[in-house]
């Protein structure tokens, strides 16, 4: 074990796998000598060279499409979108080419698409989005979203060994704020949910940065009352873990940092309503960012993103229901 930031854990996961699997290579805008806009690939260029840490033209569609081709040829590309928002420029290659390839042709596309997501730092409408629901709605893509340094490495290394296209959502706000113990060497985490705080009276379902907001909210109640379930993987969605927790606590609050409509949390809510209705002692509640672009001014941004206070308030209401 060594102590790392969430960002260092991502770099460590890449480096560890690149050392033991020569098929793995990184490509993206400014990922080479510069080390990436957030320094997620820092040091890799020096160790692995220009062919395995490739600076590309500013061409998101080509970055994703060329990754598909390299994957078909037997390599294991790791493509970086400089910001997850920019994946819109390469969306067609992702959903129409990568996502449908195995179903249509039997050819697998083992590639990882790293997507720095999320707001909270005055990034404005083009550098703050949480686009995970786009991918959830496109068949053939796996979608994972770690909340801790250990999971960042473990889910990334599992993604690198998955034979499918995996959208790896790394939250920018966690890059340097989250620090923790990370196993050395190969570390694999399954694409499954995990209970990060056990409780008896209410389940808060969250993923990514919202796990930490949910934990902060849970801290405002007596220990043992509020459970926090970290989804970690959105596709596949760990339905049994969600249902098991909700059946135990009988109440559920679902938190998304993404825009509310059709967010990952909406799928969780539908699942609970469909398969755990008779176990519920209260309404299924959701907290998410309203359906607006993420505004720039810190005051405006703070007014739309879910906060521990808002989560705690909703939790209080549910507990009292």
């Amino acid at each position: 074990m060594s102590t790392m930031t969430y960002l260092q854990a991502i770099t460590d996961g890449l480096r560890t796998e690149m050392r033991q699997d020569e098929r793995v290579f990184v490509l993206g805008e400014d990922v080479g000598a510069f080390g990436g806009a957030f320094k997620a690939t820092a040091g890799l260029y020096d160790e692995f060279g220009a062919d395995r840490v490739q600076d590309t033209p500013i061409a998101e569609s080509a970055i994703i499409g060329a990754s598909v081709g390299a994957a078909l040829a037997g390599l294991r590309p790791v493509a970086e979108m400089q910001f997850s928002d920019f994946v819109a420029c390469g969306f067609d290659q992702l959903v129409n080419v990568a996502g449908k390839m195995h179903y249509r042709t039997g050819l697998a596309v083992p590639m990882v698409l790293r997507l720095p997501t999320g707001g909270g730092f005055a990034g404005g409408p083009f550098h703050s989005q949480n686009p995970e629901a786009w991918f959830m709605h496109a068949p053939g893509l796996k979608v994972v979203a770690p909340s801790t340094p250990a999971d960042a490495k473990g889910l990334l290394m599992s993604a690198l060994r998955d034979p499918n296209p995996v959208c790896f959502l790394e939250h920018k706000n966690l890059y340097r704020r989250q620090k923790g113990e990370v196993p050395e060497g190969t570390h694999l985490e399954p694409f499954e949910a995990r209970v990060v705080r056990a409780g008896e009276e209410l389940t808060i379902v969250a993923y990514g940065a919202m796990v930490h907001a949910a934990l902060a909210a849970a801290d405002t109640f007596e220990p043992g009352r509020v459970e926090v379930l970290d989804l970690r993987s959105l596709v596949p969605l760990d339905e049994e873990a969600i249902l098991a927790s909700v059946r135990r606590t009988s109440k559920v609050l679902i938190v998304d940092e993404a825009n509310e409509t059709c967010a990952a949390g909406a799928q969780v809510a539908a699942l609970v309503a469909d398969r755990a209705f008779s176990d519920l002692d209260g309404p299924v509640r959701r907290i998410a960012t309203p359906d607006v672009p993420i505004p720039f001014s810190p005051t405006l941004e703070a007014s739309v993103l879910p906060t521990p206070d808002r989560i705690a308030e909703a939790a209080r209401e549910l507990l009292a229901y």
């Binding site: 061409a59 080509a62 040829a73 037997g74 249509r104 042709t105 050819l107 034979p163």
Partner: protein, 374 residues
Amino acid sequence: MATLTRAESPTPAAGPRPKAGAPDAAAPDAEAAASDPALTPDDRLALYRFLVQMRAIEERGVALYKQGKVPGSFYDGRGQEAISVGATFALGPDDVVCSPLIRDLGAHLVRGTDVTEILRHYMGRQNALSHGREGNVHFGDRARGVVGMVSMLPDMMVVAVGLAMAFRMRGERRVALSFFGDGATSRGDWHEAMNWAGVRKEPVVFVCENNGLAYSTPSDRQFVVGPAERAAGYGVASTTVDGNDVEAVHAAVHAARLRALAGDGPTLVEARTMRMHGHGAHDDQRYVDPELLASWTPKDPLTRYDARLTEQGVDTAAVRERVAAELEQAVTVALTAPLPDPAVATSDVFCAGEPATLGRGDAPWSFHSPEAAA
């Protein structure tokens, strides 16, 4: 034979803008057909056979569509057969086609994909190519190094660049071949593929089938500067050939392939042709000037090649008869295939095991022999 225009050569000025419905080249002169010295008599016979086979399968496919046995619509490449056949014929077994488009059935035939499977695929029956999950000419054959197309053009050009990149990174002597139409050159992925291939010198061959029409929209409503001229702007070599001359297409792609293998980078081969049928079986293309179509009829790639081989003493009628008999047999077998099990609709969205690799295609042509290489 076509000659390569080096990317650094001065760009030829754009010619006069074409009339609506017309390709930006006049119909080629049937008398001026090129002869590719790399081809042996056996190669020529094979080329002819593939042209005949593509025409026959697609004529039969239209009939099956009209009989209600092919769901959806049916897309053919009548008049353009020489391009996919001639281009794919230039490949080695380890090269990858990514991808044949809806006018490129010939590419699948040259690579050796089973005709009965293709017919089952057309009819949405149980088949090994697509399992009924796909239709039309949207299929690949991974065992033969052919990646199936998608409908968004020219997406697969970008994927071909990625394949070529992998070949180069591993030091393999392989190229990727990608087909696209004139209409596809309007989209951003065309630009991204050309730019990336040019800047990285990827071993990829781009074959542009310029039939002057993107569905119903003529070239002069799509772009001012033709595809081959634009290639120079990306550092991509280009050449323009008579797309209705199978040997000319072959020669150009053969040269482009050798150029890619030598590490000299990508080439765009612009094959000028005419789409003699509508976009699909549902389209009577009444928007195309009948006189223009009539002017292309004598340039039909099949009848032209037939005349040349007949002159060389080949019994072309025997080839046609054999192809027709084999096709009828394949249709009979295909029609007995059951429809897919509905469970197939919801399986295999994800790969659960080790990824299958791309296999080797048929390429037994004489010029790939060690003697020819020497």
